[in-house]
Subunit: 137 residues, 3 copies
């Protein structure tokens, strides 16, 4: 039976928030023994990513790369209704993705040793982000 | 029970075509109440993405960014069998992805207010693209 | 009934290894007639991608693009514990994704004519990579 739950994450503006523990708890509480957990953010200016969970410098360097992939305040942008970071946020979201799916085995999330699940906020201001977690199998 | 359907989209060359309504109708017609809808393009020079659905300038700006991510006619490319946009299209497809999965709740697609589903054609010429939609849960 | 299997791929350092046949065989051996196959790498410095399977120059050109998306030895990186290719590998993994899902119809993987499934190793040294394949529907 499919289990679905929505969580809310309050971000502090641009940067990553680890949500591995929240997702793992939802998977453990679900009836699925073998299948997938899907983690989906309901916004177009944030991403859900998997990345290295040991050294916080990795996530700071990802921010550095993202500034090149989709810079703020680019004079070539036509869309800037919500400020200098508006189109940059949409670009980063399309590049790095709104959702991931992770295997579930023996009722538990399966991740490599160094893999963590992160909500990546792309707007400079703090936001309240809703994430839908679906566990099925 | 899993429901699967293939749709065809005729593109007018490079750019986005919204397919949210087509996907939503397939989800409503499926027997799945709670689960996922997976939308997959059967080609390596187009993408399926989620992005902002209100201001068309966002999708024009995505095109602007894509020209930097994977430019046309780069003299460094070894692959150009089908023209100046050939390798650029493969690069954009790998970056932005061939498929997405979206939650289904109460028999309906769950999207944020500003999220739309788009087929992104990366070739400059018009193409006939096949998209497989799988609804399961 | 969900079927899950882990395979190991020995890479020869940076570059792509096709795994379409291994995944197709696991799908055929699974009880799922209609659904999805999910292919997930348990590491943060490799990706699972879909791309053109005919001309190897496409994958060499992807490597060329990746050098621009996330260069080695960038003096701006804070994270370089494991060498010049360390942060570049994490950046490429976040950009191109740790997993894909592919439709299954009549008990077989559904791919377009030119679509192949590849493990993309982003580290310069050879690595042993574990990939979890989940078939459900």
């Amino acid at each position: 039976m499919t289990h679905q739950q929505t969580i809310t994450v309050n971000t502090r503006g641009r940067g990553t928030t680890e949500i591995t523990d929240e997702v793992a708890a939802i998977v453990r509480a679900s009836p699925t023994a073998c299948g997938l957990a899907h983690i989906f953010v309901l916004h177009t200016s944030g991403s859900v990513i998997l990345t290295e969970n040991a050294d916080p410098a990795v996530r700071r360097d990802l921010e550095l790369l993202a500034r090149r992939w989709a810079p703020d305040a680019d004079p070539a942008y036509a869309h800037s209704d919500e400020g200098d970071d508006d189109m940059a946020a949409h670009g980063r979201s399309v590049l790095t993705g709104s959702s991931i799916a992770v295997p579930v085995t023996d009722g538990k999330l399966v991740l490599g040793t160094w893999q963590g699940i992160y909500l990546w906020e792309h707007r400079t201001q703090a936001h309240r982000r809703r994430i839908v977690i679906t566990v099925l199998g």
